[in-house]
Amino acid sequence: QQQVKQSPQSLIVQKGGIPIINCAYENTAFDYFPWYQQFPGKGPALLIAIRPDVSEKKEGRFTISFNKSAKQFSLHIMDSQPGDSATYFCAAGSNTGKLIFGQGTTLQVKP
């Protein structure tokens, strides 16, 4: 009930490609779904977040798609750049304020 499942584990794309990372959750009490970006040696930083009352949110080159009935959400990175190479974590949170994190996806964007 508390798990958040993330896939793929790793992803390699060419510069300009559109990597897509998927997450699925089980607990319908979750009402906050952030994506975090983590570079080596750094703590995670919030990239973009969505609530279940909308199906899509865009911030710059980053888009979250949310499917409430399927309990799935995904991150799309448009026009990916080598600087986007990092580990991406999805998470799910509820009114407790605690976050449950996915397993992470290591993205490599080749020049």
Partner: protein, 112 residues
Amino acid sequence: EADIYQTPRYLVIGTGKKITLECSQTMGHDKMYWYQQDPGMELHLIHYSYGVNSTEKGDLSSESTVSRIRTEHFPLTLESARPSHTSQYLCASRLAGGNEQFFGPGTRLTVL
């Protein structure tokens, strides 16, 4: 500049030593968290605090303890470190009523 700080960044110690990992934030956030993250793996919540004198255990069992005597300070202590404690420890904070958790840079702990 408001931020969240963790010291030390790297620590290598022998088995049986007592250690304290420091976490401080200058954002006035009430809520603070400690996560454990093994290399390439997800973050697991081990402790959290909703304010001064409030501490709770997280979803992952941990032999560490925490204290919250001041709003800005949330140290984590291991009384007797073991090799199984080798991991990265991340501290985070959140404003009451907000959702975003702000993370520190982490402490990478190695116990020999």
